[in-house]
């Protein structure tokens, strides 16, 4: 029987795929500080900075949030981008 068969497995697999995320940071970020996030692309916005990029997994995600915090940056918004 495969109630949790192929579909269940695929869903699990999808979760593990790299995900694209967007982070909105309060204020603009200087060039050296953006170097602390080499895996993300950065776009300035009004009184905000947007960081986009591929997040490998949850550990990477929490690591990124920790890095923002360590630099005293406030994450205003964070969302997963549609594939």
């Amino acid at each position: 029987m495969d109630v949790a068969g192929p579909t269940g497995l695929r869903r699990l697999g999808e979760r593990r795929l790299p995900m694209r995320y967007e982070f909105r940071i309060t204020g603009r970020v200087s060039e050296p500080v953006s170097h602390a996030f080499p895996e993300l692309r950065e776009f300035p916005a009004a009184r905000q900075t947007l960081f986009f990029g591929t997040v490998t997994d949850e550990a990477h995600l929490y690591g990124l949030l920790g890095r923002f915090r360590d630099l005293g940056l406030h994450v205003e918004e964070m969302r997963r981008l549609p594939d």
Partner: protein, 865 residues
């Protein structure tokens, strides 16, 4: 390691209340909150970096408001749970709250076993009231530290008041604590500076801004302490404070980024360069900074920076400084953007400085961080750091070198790789890297440097396929050539050598000589540095005792090994299953199958009963014996079959052990051919009488009495006969006499066998011999009381009680005895279900049982209930 706490001011600084920062603002409203909070069990101070968490707790700890003694522990990035608990234990000892013998020092950097926390909680329950401050809880990797703190806090009773400082909410059941009013929280918005406090702070930094300016800064920084301090710094250096404030508030840049960039830019060039370079390290010494920057005035610059409270703060009681975490991250970002190639270079320079200072463990860490594996390996070999690596638990560990590429040239890198393989019990891997090391020097000598020769010889000894006494002597010779202070620095060297020699002898099938060496090894293990090794030596000694038929001693040594592990909270990852296997072997020999299964189940959870080939063979043999005793012969064979072709079977000891176990299982199911084949696979020799005995059993069963007799006589001449060999030989002779119709003589021999077996409570040979024993014994009435003990149930003293139950465990067991479920016990005693389970595990272990019904029965036998 052991975590070296004495003599190193740097580590003592972790137990000191942080220094009073210049220009610190006294914040009575928050100090009162802390005083209030510490009237309850838990106070939590949370907030982003730089909101003044540590400053608040430190100023409270120094002030008179702290009416109880305060024990302070600062966590750093690289502190693992084992290291953390070692600091806590040390801090509590220094404050007088713990006595030396309440519990052992944690000796494994990775983690501690729950048993240590149980002891800690019960010791604190009786200790005078105190406050334990843990600063930087978020830095502990994983949930182990908060989980442990939760356990201790919930079980230590009202004497312990915890203050936890963290950037994030720790994984504690805060919701429940709030509902039960068990936690007092001081959160980020509480820590934000009020207008009055902000004015004080700015004045303290030598600026006296007017009212509207203060409001502006306060609004823009949202009362963020570090932000205000950075503003003060920038304004102190600027000609026109108002101008700074204007551009700051007009800027669209993130507050922390703007302020840090401003303040960094406002530093004179030398200070800026110094900050960028030194920022790659977590803590710095003036001389280390001088080495990183090439500046003679590094010390003065650091002092100036600390005086105006910029970026660095001194570590109490030392010449060292640490970076505020907020600045460290920013400085690294700035360095990476300006000179990305510099970071590894700085680590390498730091490695060389540490090496010059004789701090070789730190030198290895920095060299590894800088990717300079040749230097890391050279330091490790030269300073004999493979010894702690092999003895286990500390730094550097095999993990330090996990990123080392395989193609690092040179004999030393190969030696380190071999040692890492050995530390992970990968003996074939160790041997192949040793061969590479030898090839790299063009021969097996490696004699150019004494440390290289010693390292190689030690590894050769530890990975020897059989008895290696010459190699052990070689190590001893090289050891004697070391300068005495070098020898004193590594007290684990001699026990490690003896351990290696003994394991090699066991592999060579020489349990008796192995025991002699292991006894020396146990005696040679002194101090916290050798606790792990002592635990392992005692376990192997117990195994060797069991192999030599000394069941009582095996039991004592096995129990001592387990007790030592509990005393020091050795985590499961570092425990050896040798002691458990030995206790299982004893139980099997005494026909206590339930206890044997319990010990085996426990031992099989420990990694070295899988990874260490000798222990793996022992474990499979014991499983097979257990199945044979239960009559499940096929199952017995499956446990053994996989090993016959394996590498371990190449060593005489394990090979003989496997063959005999195979033969015994085959004999029990009446398959004489299989038994003979199994025994034929290893050559007979005087050293292995158990093999000859088994062969005699097969011949006797196959109805070749003459051949059997010759084998019995050969075996009897051996001076390595164990008690169980002797009992088996007597039984063989008794059976033969019975078959020959000499019943009286058979009885005499049986009485002899019984008298030989009795002191050790050895029962298995009698059951294995077959039903004739029972018939013959029936006629013993009046001749001797010998047979009665064999049939009697096990006396309670047969199974060792490792240690007494704690009061809490006794309570739990009393509830269990009332037939309550775990959930019911938890509700009754107001504990969590997990805590009850932890206590149950402790009870099982201490009573050597594996089920709750057995635990209750056993506790009743021992009058513990």
């Amino acid at each position: 390691m052991t975590v070296p706490l004495t003599g190193d001011p740097l580590l003592a600084a972790k137990l000191a209340v942080p220094c009073h920062a210049p220009g610190l603002v006294r914040r009575p409203r928050l100090l009162n909150r802390l005083t209030l909070g510490t009237k309850g069990p838990l106070t939590l101070i949370t907030g982003a970096p730089g909101v003044g968490k540590t400053a608040l707790a430190a100023s409270w700890a120094r002030s008179a408001s702290a009416s109880r003694p305060v024990v302070w522990v600062t966590l750093d990035e690289d502190d693992t749970p084992g290291v953390f608990w070692a600091y806590v234990v040390e801090g509590l000892r220094r404050s007088g709250a713990l006595a030396e013998d309440d519990l052992g020092t944690p000796v494994c950097a990775d983690d501690v076993d729950r048993s240590l926390l149980v002891r800690l909680a019960s010791a604190l329950e009786l200790a005078p009231p105190l406050v334990l401050v843990v600063d930087g809880l978020d830095k502990a990797p994983g949930n182990a530290v908060p989980e442990g703190l939760r356990f201790v806090s919930e079980h230590a009773g009202p004497a312990l008041r915890l203050v936890l400082i963290s950037r994030e909410d720790p994984p504690l059941p805060l919701h429940r604590y709030r509902a039960e009013d068990r936690v007092h929280e001081i959160r980020e918005h509480d820590l934000a500076f009020t207008r009055k406090e902000a004015v004080q702070l700015l004045r303290g930094q030598g600026t006296a801004p007017d009212g509207p300016l203060v409001d502006l800064l306060l609004e823009h920084t949202e009362g963020w302490a570090a932000g205000l301090r950075l503003c003060a710094l920038a304004m102190a250096r600027s000609e026109d404070p108002a101008d700074f404030a204007r551009s700051f508030t007009a800027s669209e840049q993130a507050v922390s980024d703007y302020l840090l960039t401003e303040v960094l830019a406002a530093q004179p060039e030398p200070a800026r360069d110094l900050l960028l370079r030194a920022g790659v390290l977590n803590r710095v010494h003036p001389d280390l900074v001088a080495a990183l920057t090439g500046r003679g005035d590094a010390g003065r610059i650091l002092q100036d920076l600390a005086r105006c409270h910029a970026f660095v703060e001194p570590l109490p009681g030392t010449q060292w400084y640490r970076f505020h975490p907020l600045f460290a991250a920013a400085l690294r970002a700035h360095l990476r953007s300006r000179q990305p190639e510099l970071e590894p270079l700085l680590h390498r320079r730091a490695a060389r400085w540490y090496a010059e200072q004789g701090r070789s463990a730190e030198a290895v860490d920095e060299a590894a961080a800088g990717g300079d594996w040749s230097f890391a390996a050279a330091q490790t070999v030269q300073h004999l750091l493979v010894v702690p690596l092999l003895a286990g638990g500390g730094s550097p560990s095999a993990d330090t070198f996990s990123r080392m590429p395989e193609d690092v040239p040179g004999a030393r890198a190969a030696l380190v790789a071999a040692a890492c393989r050995m530390a992970r019990q990968d003996v074939p891997g160790c041997r192949s890297w040793l061969a590479r090391a030898e090839a790299a020097t063009g021969g097996p000598a490696l004699e150019t440097e004494p440390a290289d020769g010693l390292t190689a010889a030690l590894l050769r000894l530890l990975s020897a396929p059989g008895a290696a006494d010459e190699e052990a002597h070689r190590v001893a010779e090289l050891l004697a050539r070391l300068p005495s202070e070098e020898r004193a620095r590594h007290p684990e060297l001699e026990p490690l050598r003896l351990y290696g020699q003994a394991c090699a002898r066991l592999r060579g099938g020489l349990p008796q000589p192995a025991r002699e060496v292991l006894e020396q090894a146990v005696r040679a293990c002194c101090g916290d540095a050798a606790v792990l090794l002592r635990h392992r030596c005692l376990g192997r000694l117990a195994l060797a005792d069991a192999a030599a038929g000394e069941l009582t001693l095996a039991e004592e040594h096995g129990a001592a090994s387990l007790a030592l592990a509990d005393q020091h909270g050795i985590p499961e990852s570092h425990r050896s299953g040798a002691a458990g296997l030995a206790l299982a072997a004893v139980a099997l020999e005494r026909e206590d199958l339930a206890a044997a299964a319990g010990h085996l189940d426990h031992a099989e959870l420990l990694a070295d009963t899988r990874d260490d080939l000798d222990l793996l063979i022992e474990r499979s043999v014991l499983r097979a014996q257990l199945e044979t005793a239960r009559g499940a012969w096929d199952a017995a064979r499956t446990h053994l079959d996989g090993h016959l072709e394996g590498p371990a079977a190449a060593s005489p000891g394990p090979a003989a052990r496997l063959a005999v176990a195979h033969a015994t299982a085959a004999l029990a199911r009446g398959d004489l051919d299989a038994a003979a084949t199994a025994l034929d696979q290893v050559g007979t020799g005087d050293a292995m009488p158990s093999h000859t005995v088994a062969l005699a059993q097969v011949r006797a069963a196959a109805d070749h009495p003459a051949q059997a007799l010759r084998l019995i006589e050969t075996a009897e001449e051996s001076d390595a006969l164990t008690v169980s060999d002797r009992v088996r030989l007597l039984l063989l002779r008794a059976h033969q006499a019975l078959l020959d119709g000499h019943e009286d003589r058979a009885r005499d021999l049986l009485v002899q066998a019984l008298d030989t077996a009795r002191p050790e409570g050895l029962r298995r040979p009698f059951t294995e011999a077959g039903p004739w024993v029972r018939h013959l014994a029936a006629g013993l009435d009046g001749r001797s009381g010998s047979y009665t003990w064999l049939g009697a149930p096990h006396a309670p003293a047969d199974r060792p009680v490792v240690e007494q139950l704690s009061p809490r465990e006794r309570e739990v067991l009393q509830q269990v005895a009332r037939m309550m479920s775990t959930d019911e016990v938890a509700a009754e005693l107001q504990l969590s279900v997990n805590t009850v389970k932890t206590h149950l595990r402790g009870i099982y272990r201490k009573l050597c049982v594996s089920r709750r019904r057995d635990a209750v029965e056993r506790a009743r036998e021992l009058h513990m209930l």
